[in-house]
């Protein structure tokens, strides 16, 4: 029996293919399925929260819903999708034939699937699935407060998904460092590849801390170890804060590519942007305990300084992308719509992040719906929109077909309305005193109507996602043929066929900048 580095035939051939495009497709497909599960769960939660009182679920069930929602979206959807984008596109963008260590990537893709199965398998155990949130703080996740194998299966599943991310990040990073085509110097890497590079660094530095934290949970549960809850908090957030940037940088990179191509302009401030990314990544390793401002156990001042300083790096990114738009002529295709909405909406997520980076403000807002609104603006209104910009942009490269522009526009506008109607009221809810992770809240007019609005928004968001998956299905089956370079791309992936051949390139154009195809077009002019 041979492990197929070449994509094989049939389901089994696909399942054991180790080439980077098959690995990425498999990870993305798994993440897509998990996204449907995690999203469906959130709709049940919003149904329960639409009005005060318990109507749809029981308390126990509700806790078994928000836990898989956060767990799925972080460990099984956004982190894997970030790395899957990198695994697919980085070799193409740097002119490489393959990722290093293909069998390691094959292994990682299955670790992720097994991790997801273990987490959801918890539902079939006697005490039910894990139910303490995606953070599983000790001592609540310990043996006496959370008996039964559901929590253990959660720990094992998250450990596997975390390991999958570490392995993929390692091979992608090594590929960038060792497999660049002749002429592709580090300062000619496309911006997307740079964002993946810093993502890999953050994964390699931050994610092992999660394995350690999970080890503490198991040490408590099975060996009765007496674990300091604050030590767990530190380990968890030392992973947890870099993780939010892992779920951000590659999607920012996708937006940067879309902004360049759909404004037909060379990126403004390439070096500044790269420097800002490196500074951002470095800084993001120093901010973890801003999740612990209200614990009374950390030096808040230090973490307020580091956290607030991140706005400088984010500001540079906004400057460079806005200046690129300013330089070019904008085409409003669907990828660009999502990219522009990302820029506007992520600003809300980022700026509310500046607010909660102030300890005294966090004393009121921490663990409230204000924070829920904040991180959904970064992760959903931000990263998910950027992901969709990337999906509509690169789908023709991956499949040779366009996604439907008409359905794409419907998807876009429904999602803009749904997202903002769902998440904006949460800022007010948190300010008014609504705690996160609650199945119910006091019957009060303000809380009731804001929650009703938010739940209505969730329904619209769900509809938008249905339109997207419908678009995916019909376009995969019978989308319009796209050709090799339908958008006028700047980077090497558009210099090969769609979908790319097994070894990606028959020949490479000369590489003299971070936008080699734009160079060629400008030469010809």
């Amino acid at each position: 029996m041979t492990v197929a580095v070449l994509p094989g035939r049939g389901v089994i051939g696909w399942a054991v293919a180790a080439d980077h495009k098959s690995v990425a497709a498999r990870v993305a497909a798994a993440a897509g399925i998990f996204m449907v599960l995690g999203g469906a769960v959130s709709l049940v939660m919003r149904a329960e929260l639409a009005h005060s009182g318990m109507q749809v679920t029981f308390r126990d069930t509700y806790n078994e819903l928000f836990t898989p929602h956060g767990t799925t979206m972080v460990y099984l959807v956004m982190v894997p999708l970030a790395l899957a984008l990198g695994a697919y596109l980085v070799p193409l963008q740097i002119g490489a034939a393959e990722l290093v260590a293909p069998r390691v990537n094959l292994f990682a893709s299955w670790l992720l699937v097994l991790g997801g199965l273990s987490i959801y398998g918890g539902f079939m155990t006697a005490h039910g699935a894990a139910r303490n949130g995606w953070t599983e703080f000790l001592p609540l996740s310990g043996e006496s407060f959370s008996p039964g194998p559901g929590t253990d299966m959660w720990v094992i599943g998250v450990a596997l998904a975390d390991a999958a991310a570490i392995l993929l990040a390692a091979t992608i990073l090594l590929t960038i460092l060792t497999r660049r085509a002749p002429g592709m110097t580090m300062l000619r890497l496309p911006v997307f590849t740079w964002t993946v590079l810093v993502t890999c660094l953050l994964t390699l530095f931050g994610f092992p801390a999660l394995e350690a934290a999970l080890g503490l949970i198991e040490a408590q549960r099975h060996f009765g170890a007496d674990i300091d809850p604050v030590a767990y908090l530190h380990l968890f957030w030392f992973f947890g804060h870099p993780a939010v940037y892992v779920m951000f940088f590659p999607f920012l990179g996708a937006v940067a590519e879309v902004v360049q191509v759909f404004s037909g302009a060379r990126l403004v401030g390439y070096r500044a942007l790269v420097l800002a990314l490196l500074g951002f990544a470095t800084g993001s390793m120093t901010v973890w305990a801003h999740h612990m401002f209200t614990t009374g156990q950390v030096l808040n001042e230090y973490f307020a300084i580091t956290s607030t300083s991140l706005l400088i790096f984010a500001g540079v990114e906004y400057f460079d992308l806005t200046a690129t738009l300013w330089r070019g002529v904008v085409r409003f295709s669907v990828p660009m719509l999502f990219a522009l909405a990302f820029l506007a909406q992520f600003a809300i997520g980022g700026l509310t992040g500046v607010i909660v980076a102030s300890p005294v403000l966090d004393y009121h807002l921490n663990d409230s719906y204000f924070v829920v609104g904040h991180f959904h603006y970064t992760l959903f209104a931000g990263s998910m929109f950027a992901l969709f910009a990337g999906v509509y942009y690169w789908f023709p490269k991956v499949t040779g077909r366009f996604l439907s522009e008409r359905l794409g526009r419907a998807h876009f506008w429904l999602l803009v309305v749904g997202t903002n109607v769902t998440f904006f009221p949460m800022f007010a809810l948190g300010y008014l005193g609504m705690t996160r992770r609650v199945a119910d809240y006091p019957e009060r007019a303000s809380l009731d109507w804001l929650n009703a609005v938010s739940s209505a928004g969730a329904a619209i968001t769900g509809l938008a996602m249905l339109v997207f998956f419908w678009n995916l299905a019909v376009s995969l089956a019978a989308g319009r043929a796209a050709g090799d370079d339908p958008w006028g791309g700047h980077t090497l992936e558009w210099a090969t066929s769609s979908p790319p051949p097994r070894h990606n390139f028959d020949r490479l154009p000369p590489i003299r900048s971070f936008a080699p195809l734009l160079d060629l077009r400008e030469q010809r002019r």
């Binding site: 308390r59 806790n63 303490n132 949130g133 703080f137 001592p139 609540l140 407060f145 300091d228 809850p229 604050v230 302009a265 060379r266 403004v268 401030g269 500044a272 209200t294 614990t295 009374g296 156990q297 001042e301 307020a304 300084i305 607030t308 300083s309 400088i312 500001g315 540079v316 906004y318 400057f319 738009l325 300013w326 330089r327 070019g328 002529v329 904008v330 820029l343 506007a344 600003a347 809300i348 700026l351 509310t352 500046v354 607010i355 102030s358 005294v360 403000l361 004393y363 009121h364 921490n366 663990d367 409230s368 005193g433 705690t435 996160r436 992770r437 609650v438 119910d440 809240y441 006091p442």
Partner: protein, 202 residues
Amino acid sequence: MGGDGTRQAFDALFSAYVVVTTAALLVIGLALTLAVLRGRRRGSRPGSDPSRLELAYVGVLVLAATALIAVSLVTERNVDARSATPDVRVAAVASQWRWSFTVSEAGRQAAPAADLVVPQGATVAITLRSTDVIHSMWVPEVRFKRYAFPDRTNRFDLEFPDTGSFEGLCAQFCGLEHDTMRFTVHVLDRRGFDAWLAEHGS
């Protein structure tokens, strides 16, 4: 807590932050809109990067971050300060899924109760701990919360500027009945509090 109380401290700082972040959001929105519209009217024009402008802009960002950090840390120093001579002391204990408050003043101590009774305008020194998992004591009225740990004690001062009954809750998820773990803060005027302590105290 020195000076004006946690609510005033939060409200002043929050107003400043809302003004700054809203202004930043408007600038971003305006810049994006102009950038998109301008190119559509004038066409693409390649040119050199505006490095000087970008450097000046980074200078503005550094100043803005510094100002926000400075005002935050000054406010925090006030809010985190603890009085050496508080008027009232409270031992607060969180457990799944109830609260217990023991209020004492000048040698008189009330029996532990599920709700918190304090005098208006006084400095209330609270020691907070948990008997089981991590909880978090949140009183939205005074814009303040703090974790309760099973193995260590958190100490902080609060001040309640208005009389009335206010809701308190557990902000950190603590198991099945987390959302029901609520309490009421009864803020009485000085006479009312003295009468209450005389009736419930020992």
